[in-house]
């Protein structure tokens, strides 16, 4: 497949609309009008089987009649004819087509096979397709409005890629009122050909795009997405909102796009790894658009707050602490300067409360001081309406102070209210200063700035080759033998070899067939042992009395094994018992039980997980995922995001656990996941973590032949 040509899609020299119409309210008519009104300066042609005039332009009866080869085609005719049209367009020299029409369902007998025909026609003709079933594409800077959106996008520096025409339409409708515009807006519809990855790759280098917004429901080509998203996120902020995060939402998304929205936690891990800022809600998404259209990502750590209302300052500080941000500690010098500006009863600290009767000039002069104060990385200015000072004039004083500042630092504003504040908001928008309706949303904007900077810093860090020295050959042999024998799980001794090949510290294990042999194995280990039943039919051994701990010596162990056989026979009479596992008893009473493992996601592939371990993992639900492979920095970051990490950090008489040892286990799991695609699932639970290191005590490894269906 040819690489998508950005020019043909976003900056065509000629466009043909196939299916132009004059019928009021029809999609073909709205498309024709939007194309004509978009300011396109190249050649715009209409095709309609009956020819004639459409909206005052001569329409060609067929593609063969076109006077000029079209760079871009927009197609709004009924679906069945479209594969043929695409072939004709290819012959006429067309390079990209936007299929607005729906009606390509394979589940409908009338249209079954049409998707395949369309894709084949496009590939043979070397035409890239957007859609089908989409709202279209807008590139206002190039005069292209190839959409049936209600609002034309004003030109600007945001790119929007949406797997929902509705979300794109809402954003287009919202933007002009906030002084924002777009470089390119692409709605993807069914993403039969062009997908988010293709577009990210192109937009990464697009100088007219300052930030990229994504509405994502599901991804198909995850490697392409990850590659393109990382590249784009290194160059500019990429902000995503994910639809279908909840189980019910995923079902709704499936009914919406026919694609099953993926496991939410894996998407979250993927966005994070790719350096994409994921936001929670549509208002956070739109606010982020406004912020990043005006402000670059910034390593700002400390925030100074200037306010004429104490309560507004308090709410901002609460929000700042929720987001983990820090209030700037004003220097004595700054406080002294502010004291010469502010009224007598000002707050003498941060928030800088200049009180309700503060005149506009006080806003301006106090802001000048804060812009010059090195201890404040960013400034938030809050205004509550008062009868004694004009909010709009205060906004102008702020705008002037921002413009005059020697040292640019991020500035956020919130003129709280509506009636007296709307004009100030318009002026901030016109002056390209981020403005928000409430103190909390302004603080969220500040937090997003810092967060994007942290994500980019992670992308800029060269990945360290932190992997262990591994014996891939030994590992492959173990896994290959299990598969050759038709097994889907490794035996405990095989697991031991596998973990040791990847340098993962694990408890030694002996497998025995009878209670008598169990007693002998116990005698061989110095000290007490743990005894576990071996049965493929029993996955949770402790639930059926299949685990006995602290057994000392030959007799006690043999007796316990005998008793265990009886209990298991009673509770699970159908289970085939293969023998026993004997392991030295590990007594690390102050160690924390951790879960570490790997799973494979159908979209994103191998995923490493870490969290609170033990028997209650499902209930605790404390897991953090990371895409494999990992380096130590990424692994430490994952550990830091678990709740159990607070316990690992030590408390009371527990020294901090050796987090590097645990991180090394995660890195090894990531390497193993990449090396051995046959390992479908691997669970280490518990990994005992304390100050002496990390030790895997129990492990389960599921294998499957590559290409076989997922477990």
């Amino acid at each position: 497949m040819t690489t998508l040509n950005l020019d043909a899609l976003f900056a065509p020299r000629s466009i043909v609309l196939v299916g132009a119409s004059e019928r009021p309210g029809s999609v073909g008519s709205v498309l024709a009008r939007n194309l004509m009104d978009g300011g396109f300066t190249g050649e715009l042609m209409f095709v309609h089987p009956r020819g004639g005039e459409i909206h005052g332009r001569t329409a060609c009866a067929s593609i063969g009649d076109l006077p000029t080869p079209p760079d871009l085609a927009v197609i709004a005719t009924p679906a069945p004819a479209i594969p043929g049209l695409v072939a004709e367009l290819g012959a006429a020299g067309c390079r990209a087509a936007i299929i607005i029409s729906a009606g390509f369902e394979d589940s409908d007998p009338a249209t079954a096979g049409l998707r395949r025909d369309l894709l084949e026609a496009a590939r043979r003709s070397q035409i890239r397709l957007v859609g089908p079933n989409c709202l279209g594409v807008l590139s206002p800077g190039h005069g292209v409005n190839a959409s049936f959106a209600r609002e034309a996008a004003p030109a600007g520096d945001l790119a929007l890629i949406a797997q929902s025409g509705a979300v794109a339409a809402a954003a287009l409708d919202w933007a002009p009122a906030h002084g924002l515009g777009f470089s390119h807006v692409v709605t993807l519809g069914d993403s039969l050909d062009v997908d988010i990855g293709d577009l990210l790759e192109q937009l990464a280098d697009d100088p007219s795009t300052r930030a990229i917004l994504l509405y994502v429901e599901s991804l198909r080509d995850a490697p392409k997405f990850m590659r393109a998203a990382r590249r784009a996120a290194l160059a500019k902020p990429v902000i995503a909102i994910k639809g279908g995060r909840s189980a019910a939402g995923a079902k709704a998304a499936f009914s919406h796009t026919g694609a099953l929205a993926g496991a939410d936690a894996v998407y979250e891990a993927a966005f994070r790894r790719a350096g994409v800022l994921q936001v929670e809600s549509l208002d956070a998404f739109l606010d982020a658009a406004a912020t990043f259209s005006r402000t670059a990502a910034d390593p700002a750590r400390t925030l100074a707050i200037l306010t004429n209302g104490g309560g507004a300052g308090v709410l901002a500080v609460d929000a700042l602490e929720r987001h983990g941000g820090a209030l700037a500690q004003l220097s004595p010098d700054t406080v002294a300067r502010l004291a010469t500006i502010a009224p007598a009863h000002w707050s003498r600290g941060n928030p800088v409360d200049i009180l309700g009767d503060a005149q506009p000039a006080v806003f301006g002069r106090a802001l000048e001081t804060l812009m010059a104060a090195p201890e404040a990385d960013a400034v938030l200015i809050l205004n509550c309406p008062t009868a004694v000072a004009d909010s709009t004039v205060a906004a102008e004083a702020v705008i002037a102070a921002v413009r005059a500042a020697d040292r640019g630092k991020p500035v956020f504003t919130s003129w709280i209210g509506e009636t007296s504040q709307a004009e100030a908001r318009r002026r901030f928008a016109a002056a390209a200063i981020p403005t928000f309706p409430t103190p909390e949303s302004a603080v969220r904007g500040f937090a997003q700035l810092t967060r994007v900077e942290a994500l980019q810093a992670q992308l800029r860090a060269a990945p360290a080759d932190d992997g262990p020295a591994v014996d891939v050959r030994a590992a492959r042999a173990i896994v290959g033998r299990a598969l050759a024998e038709g097994r889907t799980a490794l035996t405990p001794p095989e697991v031991s070899v596998l973990l040791s090949a990847y340098g993962i510290p694990a408890l030694p294990a002996r497998i025995v067939a009878t209670p008598k042999e169990a007693g002998e194995a116990a005698a061989d280990f110095a000290g007490p042992v743990a005894l576990k039943i071996l049965s493929r039919d029993i996955s949770h051994k402790s639930d059926v009395g299949g685990v006995q701990l602290h057994l000392s010596g030959r007799e006690a162990t043999a007796a316990a094994a005998q008793a265990m056989l009886a209990t298991v026979a009673r509770l699970r009479p159908e289970a085939a018992v293969e023998g026993f596992l004997v392991q030295p008893m590990i007594v690390r009473p102050k160690a924390q039980e951790i879960l570490a493992g790997l799973v494979r996601d159908p979209t994103f592939g191998p995923v490493v997980m870490v969290g609170h371990g033990g028997v209650a993992v499902e209930v605790l639900a404390d897991r953090v995922l990371g895409l494999a492979p990992l380096d130590l920095a990424l692994a430490r970051d994952m550990i830091g995001r678990t709740r159990v990490s607070r316990l690992l950090a030590g408390y009371r008489d527990r020294p901090p656990a050796d987090l590097d040892a645990l991180a090394a286990v995660l890195v090894a799991l990531g390497r193993l996941a990449v090396d051995l695609p046959e390992v479908a699932e691997l669970d280490l639970n518990p990994v005992l973590c304390d100050e002496t290191g990390a030790l895997a005590v129990d492990a389960r490894v599921a294998v499957r032949s590559p290409g076989s269906p997922p477990l």
Copy 2:
């Protein structure tokens, strides 16, 4: 003190402004204009020492010259004269005064003592005071605008009580643009006299108030607040936003109002107990105002979503799941009806996606069907702008369908975007249908409705007398003796008696002085014992080797005690050792360690807590607080909100713990807290909880004489 007379404050027959002015931009001038423009039909008088005309009205030179006794005085003169003015006003028959002026700081030598003088003058004159240092009071329905707010409040059915003039000013500025109005707005300033409790008590019965909004930074008279808030919340929704929730925010609030904002978790417990809906952010606060001005609290459980945009529906479903709400499962009958209305490719389920080209009439007819569907308790309608259908006409169709519906059910709308949607939002506001800028905020509105209903249901439930049969006399004797001996902690045997007096199951304990006696005690108990060091100097015994478990028999126990003495002497040579505690060893390996206890909050008094127990309680930070006393229903609700409750519910081979036994412990603690104010703090950690019950294994009780300073 006399009860606040609502009429004098909110519906005065005559008002005097003391400190009226014509100086442009002065507070006295804005107050005069606001009072004149408010539509007040009673007698409005101005006082200014120079007399003359102010804004065209004759001003009296002194209060003695007033032609009519003023019901209400508004005072904006410099602080030092105000106590005298209040005395004069009292003599003139005034019953309430709003002190706008600031300048009553006791920390300023020039004004020290002025607060006291003011309060005394008011009490002697039987005048109730609002303020000082406030924005004023508005009662638009009575033509009263006794404030220097920029925007006059339109009359309406919301009451707002704010400990921040800025937040009130912002709300006043915001409301008219959203078609909302106020019955009463009171800003409290320093709350020297009238406080939130007073106002809630009055507004509970005010027929012109449909919902009450509170901005709270700190409360002083908690019992009054709780009483009044419960009464008000039973009658109408009470929504609160708390400023100063974070540590930094509390500090900012202190600098703002001079009152230390209280422990956030205790406020949260208090609001919940009082039936007050606490919201997180200013936009949730304002959205709630809009919702409850138009819709009553409702036990709605299931939501139907009608949308013309798939992506918008997906985002709404995600938000619904985050809030714990449920999608209505449409009946076959409803689906069949919708199928006759919706276009061919509609979603055939909930969300009801009628697709982007849905005409307004389809919105109306589909909504009629959903309003009639018994399986949907409430309906959310989403609209994304499209070029083929007019959003405003669609809004009108929705408004008509809501009006025509036989069966009222809560309806929420979100017309997403701005340019094409603003008019529809205005029409929804005019039609009193809640409308929100995003799907997520609309779903939050639905969740608030349900939440308020649940809070009210809790208030309506008669509190059960679930308390244990207690022996208060025995408990008092124990505590009294400890205090008489000048101790601040109970000894373990005293703790045993105290817990037993309140029916709290606890492990027996023997105190011994020497290792030899420890051995004897161990011999007396059947089975293994636990041995703990006894020392007032050591609060965390296990940190210094002061706990030994699983000791069997006389010799082992005596030897362990001897060794313990040596270890403690080495690690904590300064600690005085009083002896040992010997307890039967409890082996409940599958029991969960729970923390239960009581503390006393300086504002709200006795507070019961429950959460994850064990040695890592500080790190786990899993605690839920409830104000004492409790009944079993409240105690169960508290347990249900801990994270550890997921473990108590049972998993794998662990049967569910006996939650009623744990709830009974909490109820007993609440009773103890109320009966024995001398018990300053009580910690049960751990309480072992399993299917056989709850057993306190270790306990600490701190006592102090009532009236002594907090620990």
